[in-house]
C-alpha cells in the first residue's frame, strides 16, 4: 500500500499559514535526526527546545498525525515538516523498522479502533424502545415546527410576489429576517435559499432571471413539502434534505454500503459565513457512480483530511436516501490503492447534457452535478473561459481569471480531462487529469 502524497496535498492539511510556513522550514532532511517509513506510517525525530528530540509520526491513510511537542496546532509544524520531507525526498525516510515509540503508537491506535466498534454494541431491548420513543417525540415536535415555518414562508413569499419582487429585494433586511425565522423553525436550508434569493440581485445583467429562478425553486420546494405524503420516499428524502433536516449518521452507518475502488476525482472548499464546507467527489470505478463526502469545519477547526485528488481508495460508502443518491458517509476505509487513475468517468459534452437532463427530471432542485469531461480543450475567448470539444461544442466555465490562467498553463492548448461541478449554466472546474499528472485547481 503506497500513498502518492503531493506537496499540494500537504499544503491543504495545514491548520493555518503560519504553521505551514514553520513546517516548510523544517522540511529539510538535515534537520531530522532519524527518518523512517513502513506500512503507511512515516516517522522522524527532530531537535526541539528541550533536551529530548520531538518524536513525530504520521499514519498516511486517514491521515493522522502524532507528535510529542507541546503545540496545540494540529497537525503541528513537525508533522507538516515530516510530510513535506516525504513528498520532496521520500528516499530520505530510510529506516524501515518501527522504533519502540512508533510501535507503541500504532498499537494504541489499533486498540482504540477496536474499542470504538465494541462501544456500538446494542443495549437491552427496553432501553432501546425508550430511546426510540423519545426519538419519535423529538421528531414530531420538530416536524410541527417545520410545518409552521413552511406555511409562514409560503404566505410571505406570495405577498412579495403580489407586490413585486423588484421592490421587495431592495429591502434585504426583510429577507434576512425571514431567513432568521426559518432557522428558528429548524429549516436552515430554507434560510440559505432565502439568502441566495436576496443576493441574486447582485448577480449581474441577468439578475432578474436568476432571482425568478431562485424564487420559483423555493416555491416548488414549499409546495412539495405541503403534499410530501403523496410523493415517493426518494423525493420525500430529497425534500427533507433541501429543507435542512439532518439525518442520523450513526443509524445510517449501520446500513450495508457500497464497496468499490473510489477515485478521488475532485475537491472544493467553500466558505459560508464562519463555516468551511469541504466537498470531496468520488467516483466508484466498478459501480460507475458518484459519491460526495461533505465535511464541515467552524472557525479554525481542522478540516477532515481526505486523500489527495487523483488517488484511488478502496472503501465502503453508505449513501443518504434521495432520488439522486450521491451524498455518502465513509463507513470502512480499506486504504489507498497504487493504481493509475481510472478515467472511465470522463464523458463527452453531449452525454453530460443528457445525463443532467434525466437527473433533473427526477430531482428538480438539483444544482450541483458532478461532471467529468473527457478530451476537452480549455480556451480563453473574448475574455470568457470555455471548454471546447473536438466537435466545437462548448461549455462555459465559472472560474476566476487567476485559476483560468492556471488551467491554461497546465493544458497548453491540448485536450485534457476536466472534473468540475455543473450547475446547469456553468462548470466550476476542480481538477485536471492530463496524461501525466493530476492537479487540483
Amino acid at each position: 500500500m503506497t500513498n502518492h502524497w503531493t506537496t499540494e496535498h500537504v499544503n491543504t492539511l495545514a491548520p493555518d499559514a503560519a504553521s505551514l510556513k514553520n513546517g516548510r522550514a523544517l522540511a529539510v532532511v538535515s534537520k531530522w535526526q532519524t527518518l523512517g517509513q513502513a506500512d503507511g506510517i512515516l516517522w522522524g525525530e527532530i531537535k526541539g527546545s528541550g533536551s529530548k528530540p520531538y518524536q513525530t509520526c504520521i499514519e498516511q491513510t486517514t491521515p493522522s498525525f502524532k507528535c510529542s511537542c507541546p503545540s496545540r496546532k494540529f497537525p503541528c509544524k513537525h508533522g507538516l515538516g515530516l510530510a513535506l520531507v516525504y513528498t520532496a525526498q521520500p528516499d530520505a525516510l530510510n529506516q524501515t523498522d518501527f522504533p519502540d515509540w512508533v510501535a507503541e503508537w500504532v498499537n494504541k491506535r489499533t486498540q482504540k479502533q477496536t474499542a470504538k466498534v465494541s462501544a456500538a454494541e446494542p443495549v437491552d431491548e427496553a432501553t432501546l424502545k425508550k430511546r426510540e420513543k423519545a426519538q419519535e417525540k423529538r421528531q414530531a415536535a420538530r416536524s410541527d415546527k417545520v410545518s409552521t415555518g413552511v406555511a409562514e414562508l409560503q404566505t410571505w413569499l406570495y405577498d412579495q410576489v403580489r407586490q413585486g419582487l423588484s421592490q421587495s429585494v431592495m429591502d434585504s433586511r426583510a429577507w434576512d429576517k425571514m431567513a432568521a425565522r426559518m432557522i428558528d423553525a429548524q429549516a436552515p436550508a430554507l434560510a440559505r435559499r432565502l439568502q441566495q434569493c436576496a443576493q441574486a440581485r447582485f448577480s449581474g445583467d441577468a439578475w432578474q432571471e436568476k432571482l425568478l429562478t431562485e424564487v420559483a425553486h423555493l416555491h416548488l420546494l414549499l409546495a412539495a413539502y405541503q403534499r410530501r405524503e403523496e410523493l415517493s420516499p426518494d423525493v420525500q428524502a430529497d425534500i427533507a434534505a433541501y429543507i435542512g433536516e439532518t439525518s442520523n449518521k450513526t443509524e445510517l452507518l449501520t446500513q450495508t454500503g457500497v464497496t468499490d475502488d473510489w477515485l478521488i476525482i475532485g475537491q472544493a472548499i467553500e466558505e459560508q459565513d464562519a463555516m468551511r464546507i469541504q466537498r470531496t467527489w468520488l467516483y466508484g470505478t466498478q459501480q460507475q457512480r458518484y459519491a460526495l463526502l461533505l465535511d464541515f469545519a467552524i472557525a479554525n477547526q481542522t478540516m477532515t483530511l481526505r486523500p489527495a485528488v487523483g488517488s484511488t481508495l478502496n472503501a465502503e460508502l453508505v449513501f443518504y436516501a434521495g432520488s439522486y443518491p450521491i451524498r455518502a458517509l465513509l463507513k470502512q476505509d480499506n486504504g489507498a490503492l497504487s493504481v493509475t487513475p481510472d478515467l472511465s468517468a470522463f464523458i463527452s459534452i453531449p452525454t453530460l447534457f443528457q445525463a443532467f437532463q434525466s437527473q433533473l427530471a427526477l430531482s428538480p432542485w438539483l444544482s450541483q452535478f458532478p461532471c467529468a469531461l473527457g478530451a476537452v480543450t480549455p480556451v480563453r475567448h473574448d475574455e470568457q473561459w470555455l471548454l471546447v470539444d473536438s466537435d466545437l461544442m462548448t461549455l462555459p466555465l465559472k472560474i476566476t481569471d487567476s485559476k483560468g490562467w492556471h488551467l491554461l498553463a497546465l493544458s497548453g492548448g491540448h485536450a485534457v480531462n476536466i472534473f468540475g461541478e455543473w450547475n446547469g449554466d456553468t462548470l466550476s472546474p476542480l481538477a485536471i487529469f492530463t496524461p501525466t499528472t493530476v492537479e487540483r485547481l
Binding site: 413569499l157 410576489v161 403580489r162 413585486g164 424564487v215 416548488l220 409546495a223 461544442m393 490562467w405 497548453g412
Partner: protein, 510 residues
C-alpha cells in the same frame, strides 16, 4: 420564450397587475393551462401560486432543454514543443516557498538567476504567478523567460499584459504601436531595447519625433542613450546642448563628457587645464594643485553648459569651476596628473577651493561611476554615504567594509554595522566571516535598548552573506539573547541564510 419574459415582468412589478393568464408555446402549454382553469387568472393567493408554479415549470423546461453552444472563434495552436526537463522536486518546493513566504520574497531574484542557468523548467502550474511577478520587476524577466520555457511563452502570448514582457526583443520591437502610443515608461523601455540592438536606428527613431515631445519626455528618452553610447551620437548630442530645456542640456553635456574624444570633452578639458595646474611633489616639496580661475565669464562657455549666474550663496568662480569639472570623468585627472585619487584628495585638505572641488568631483562621480575614486572619497570623508558605496565594485567594497569592521572598537560597532547594508552584492566567504565575527563581538557586549532595536535593520545581511557561512552564523551567535528583538533577528537571519544554502545546494547538485 415569451412566457419567460412575461413571468419576469409580472414577478418583478407584482402579480396584482397581472390580468390575463399566461400562455406558452408547444408542450409547455398543456401544463400551464392547468394552472389557469377556464383560462382566467385565479384570485387571492391562488394567483401568486399559479404564477410561481408556472415560473418553476418554465425554468425547469428551459434548463432541461439546454444545448451546448458551438464555438465560433479560432482555437489557439496547442503548445507541442518538447519541454525542458522539470526542476527537481526539492527545487520546486523551494520555489513554492519563495512565492508564498513574504520573508523569503526578497531572495526570489537570486533563486531565479541561479535556476535559469540549469536548463530546466518550472512546473506548468507556477507559470502564471511568475509571469505576474515579471510585470512588476524588469530585472527578473530574462530568468523567468528561461524558466517558464516554451509553455510559458505560449501562455504569455495569449495574455495582453504578459505578451510584451518576455525577453524576445524582436517581438517587442516589431510592435511599433508601443513606441507610437505607449506610456512614457513603455516607450523608454522600447527605446532602451532598440539601443541595445541597433543604437543608430534608435537614435534616428528619437530624432524623428524629437521636436514634438515635451521637455520631460525628451529628457527621459535621451537618458537611454547611455546604452551603447558612441562617437556616432556626438552630432545629435551637440544639437541637444542648445535645447530649450535645461534638464536636456545638462544631460547632453553629461553624455558628451562620457565620450573622451568628443569636441565637447576636449573643450572642457582644455579649459580646465588652464584653470587647474598640478605641481608634482618631490623629496622635499609637497605636491600642489594650483587653481587659477578667470575673473570674468566668457560667453562661449554657455554653449558648453556653463551658466554665468551662480545660485544664491555661492561664489561665481566656484560655480563655474563646479559646472565644468562635473562633466569630466574624475579618472581623467588621476591619469592626466599621474597621481592617485588618494594623493589628490590629501592635497585638498587645507586647499582654499576645497569645497568647490569636492562638490564638483562628487557630482562627476555620480555622472561617471569610478570605484577607485569612490573608495577614496569614503575613506577620506563620511563613510556612510550610500550613493558612493553603490559606485564601488565588489572587491573594493569588501576591502573597505572589512577595514572598517576590524579597525572599529567593539563598543562603536553600532555605528558601523548599518553601513554594511550599502554593500549590496553577494558577499564572499572571507568577508561574510568577517561580518559574522563582528556581529559576535558586538552581541556579546552590553548593549543599550536603542542599539538592540537597531538590529532590526541588520536582518537583511542574510540576503548577502555567503550561504557557506550558515553554520558559522548559528555557532557564533548565541541564542537566546538578553534582548528579545536580537534573538528574533538572529532567528530570521538564520532562517533566510539556511534557506539560501539549501536552495543553492539543490540547484547546483541536481
Amino acid at each position: 420564450m415569451q412566457i419567460w419574459q412575461d413571468l419576469i415582468k409580472y414577478s418583478l412589478i407584482g402579480s396584482e397587475r397581472q390580468n390575463a393568464p399566461l400562455n406558452a408555446d408547444g408542450d409547455l402549454q398543456a401544463y400551464i393551462s392547468q394552472l389557469y382553469p377556464n383560462n382566467t387568472v385565479p384570485t387571492g393567493e391562488a394567483r401568486e401560486q399559479a404564477l410561481l408554479s408556472a415560473a418553476a415549470l418554465a425554468a425547469q423546461y428551459r434548463l432541461a432543454g439546454q444545448q451546448a453552444a458551438t464555438f465560433n472563434g479560432t482555437l489557439p495552436v496547442a503548445d507541442d514543443a518538447e519541454p525542458l526537463p522539470l526542476l527537481s522536486p526539492l527545487c520546486i518546493s523551494h520555489l513554492q516557498r519563495l512565492l508564498n513566504d513574504n520573508e523569503l520574497k526578497s531572495i526570489l531574484p537570486e533563486w531565479l538567476a541561479l535556476a535559469a542557468i540549469v536548463k530546466r523548467r518550472v512546473p506548468f502550474a507556477s507559470i502564471p504567478q511568475l509571469l505576474e511577478l515579471a510585470t512588476q520587476n524588469r530585472s527578473i524577466r530574462p530568468a523567468i523567460t528561461a524558466l517558464i520555457d516554451k509553455r510559458g511563452q505560449w501562455l504569455a502570448a495569449q495574455h495582453p499584459d504578459w505578451q510584451k514582457l518576455l525577453v524576445q526583443t524582436d517581438a517587442i520591437l516589431d510592435d511599433v504601436s508601443i513606441w507610437e502610443d505607449g506610456s512614457p515608461a513603455q516607450r523608454e523601455e522600447y527605446l532602451r531595447q532598440y539601443r541595445e540592438q541597433d543604437a543608430a536606428k534608435a537614435r534616428e527613431l528619437l530624432q524623428a519625433v524629437w521636436k514634438q515631445e515635451p521637455a520631460a519626455t525628451r529628457q527621459s528618452l535621451l537618458a537611454v542613450f547611455s546604452v551603447n553610447l558612441s562617437s556616432e551620437d556626438e552630432a545629435f548630442l551637440n544639437t541637444c546642448l542648445e535645447d530649450r530645456s535645461k534638464g536636456v542640456r545638462q544631460l547632453a553635456a553629461t553624455l558628451l563628457g562620457q565620450l573622451p574624444d568628443s569636441a565637447f570633452s576636449q573643450r572642457q578639458k582644455h579649459r580646465l587645464n588652464t584653470w587647474l595646474r598640478f605641481e608634482k611633489g618631490g623629496l622635499l616639496k609637497k605636491a600642489k594643485l594650483i587653481v587659477d580661475l578667470p575673473e570674468t565669464c566668457d560667453k562661449t562657455w554657455l554653449a558648453d553648459g556653463i551658466e554665468e549666474k551662480p545660485p544664491q550663496g555661492k561664489g561665481a568662480k566656484a560655480w563655474w569651476l563646479e559646472q565644468a569639472l562635473s562633466v569630466v570623468p574624475p579618472a581623467y585627472w588621476s591619469a592626466h596628473w599621474h597621481t592617485s585619487p588618494d594623493d589628490i584628495l590629501t592635497m585638498l585638505k587645507k586647499h582654499e577651493w576645497r569645497d568647490a572641488l569636492l562638490m564638483a568631483w562628487r557630482q562627476a562621480l555620480q555622472n561617471y561611476p569610478d570605484s577607485d575614486w569612490a573608495e577614496t572619497f569614503l575613506t577620506h570623508f563620511n563613510n556612510s554615504e550610500q550613493p558612493l558605496w553603490q559606485l564601488l565594485n565588489a572587491a573594493h567594497a569588501e576591502r573597505l567594509a572589512a577595514q572598517l569592521l576590524t579597525s572599529t572598537e567593539t563598543s562603536k560597532l553600532s555605528n558601523v554595522l548599518p553601513i554594511l547594508n550599502h554593500v549590496q552584492h553577494a558577499w564572499s566567504v572571507d568577508f561574510s566571516t568577517c561580518v559574522i565575527n563582528a556581529l559576535q563581538r558586538h552581541t556579546q557586549q552590553k548593549l543599550t535598548a536603542n542599539e538592540a532595536y537597531a538590529y532590526y535593520y541588520l536582518s537583511d545581511f542574510a540576503r548577502h552573506l555567503a550561504p557557506e557561512c550558515t553554520d558559522l552564523l548559528s555557532s557564533c551567535l548565541q541564542k537566546p539573547h538578553e534582548y528579545e528583538q536580537i534573538t528574533r533577528v538572529i532567528d530570521k537571519m538564520f532562517y533566510m541564510l539556511s534557506f539560501r544554502r539549501d536552495m543553492t545546494n539543490a540547484l547546483t547538485n541536481p
